[in-house]
Symmetry: C2
């Protein structure tokens, strides 16, 4: 497994890869969710490339860029075990040299949910992902379904800009009690960790009432909201029920519908989602 | 010479090109300026691809998108003579299907001049060019120095987004009296055509006073302005003297400096530039 830190070197290394290249972009501090992406890539590709880059342009000014958790040696150990061929770990200066001024922005799917709550977040994601796609030139790139809006927006960018790769969304990996794996879970203290199960519980509630025949999106949102509000440490950022393609907010639930939410547990903002089919 | 109208087919045709691919994006209605780009590409490439696409996203609502001149049979005849391998002529629906929502935008070089006068013009250019680069995957792409700001902005986009090609800017081709070749010259009536020489005359004046030792940008701008205002059919949009890399407006002229201007001759907006070295 090679580890490369500069764009020039990774482009050179890429030229030697003849065949299917699977790419997993990450911000590091890897967990089973990331490894599920890597395993899927490994299964489907001749070469697997993983990037580790905590991307400053997708963090807001008050967000956790500075304290985002980091453990590169541990990450590299995990990736080596999965048979990864190349790990790209650029510096911020490599990716955003002085005077950087070009952004890629999707304007429809990004308006609500994460786009509304974190105004420049998704623009930062599309920009860094466009850069990484140009650097790595993968056949396929793998994204976690946990960040459902992100995966959809990246797919839309690839379609709109005619990029030469396929986006694969991989199911969310969960802890035993249903909490979606996330590097940010590490911010939770024991009490908050317990309270954080309310996200998954509220998504299960949505699936349950949907299975029972409920089609009124507002009633489902209300039930979820009520349940989350019963948890004293939780405060809701948004609860959304939207069509799973264009992410238009729904009144009547028509499958496939994406039920997604962002909830602060104490100071820690968590997101999760399920698709009603 | 093949002519292709769909993105899928051109991507397929591209796969057969092994070697250096030179690409000239155009809006058609070709003149000697375009042909200079094609000849340069032909000289340096194994395969030459030309696109003809009048790109709606780079026109403002009050601009000449609907009446932009068009003569595809004549264009194809000219390109065939130059030994072009592939001409890509997509429809608007091919390039911008319903729901299109992703744009590429450069935010520094685009703020003044064409960016200020035509607010979404350069965003339209970077977006369509990014798409065409992904579709054609050229080794090099050729742009006319006449649209100097456009060429710089495209270069910046390629650098910032780590795109895998080189941008080549080719010197402006002029009529015998100095008027820069442009498809929009066709809009000029005989009287306006005569008046249009004022752009080149004012650029020559700038070069002359620069050669005489003038270093004060405001004095040069004033002299150019005065000369242009002596032409009754001319009305100035902007006269700019900027550093030729970052396009910051200058007080003291330090070479290389880009002297650029946009002037309306009657109803027709024309642009031109020279670089002081």
């Amino acid at each position: 497994m090679r580890t490369i830190e500069t764009i020039a070197e990774v482009k050179e290394a890429r030229r030697e890869f003849q065949g299917v290249v699977g790419f997993v972009p990450t911000m590091g501090y890897l967990h089973e969710g990331h490894l599920a992406l890597v395993r899927r890539a490994r299964m489907e590709s001749d070469y697997v490339v993983v990037s580790i880059f905590v991307n400053p342009t997708q963090f807001g000014p008050q967000e956790d860029f500075q304290r985002y958790p980091k453990d590169i040696p541990r990450d590299l150990g995990l990736l080596k075990k999965e048979g990864v061929d190349l790990v790209f770990i650029p510096s911020v200066e490599q990716m955003y040299p002085a005077g950087f001024s070009t952004y890629v922005e999707e304007g429809r799917l990004t308006r609500r949910r994460e786009g509304a709550s974190r105004p420049t977040h998704l623009r930062g994601v599309t920009t860094v992902v466009a850069k990484l796609f140009n650097i790595i030139e993968p056949t396929r790139a793998y994204f976690g379904q946990k960040d459902a809006q992100q995966a959809l927006v990246v797919k839309k960018m690839v379609d709109d800009l005619n990029m030469n790769l396929e986006i694969v969304a991989v199911p969310t990996v969960r802890e035993a009690d249903g909490l979606a794996m996330s590097s940010r879970n590490t911010y939770l203290n024991a009490q908050e960790r317990q309270a954080a199960t309310i996200l998954w519980k509220s998504l299960c509630l949505a699936e349950e009432v949907w299975a029972q025949g409920e089609r009124d999106a507002n009633r489902v949102r209300e039930k979820m909201t009520k349940l989350i509000e019963s948890e004293p440490l939780a405060s809701i950022d948004y609860v959304s029920i939207a069509d799973a393609w264009a992410l238009g907010e729904l009144e009547e639930i028509l499958p496939p519908a994406l039920v997604s939410l962002a909830v602060k547990i104490g100071p820690v903002r968590l997101i999760d989602n399920v698709t009603l089919r």
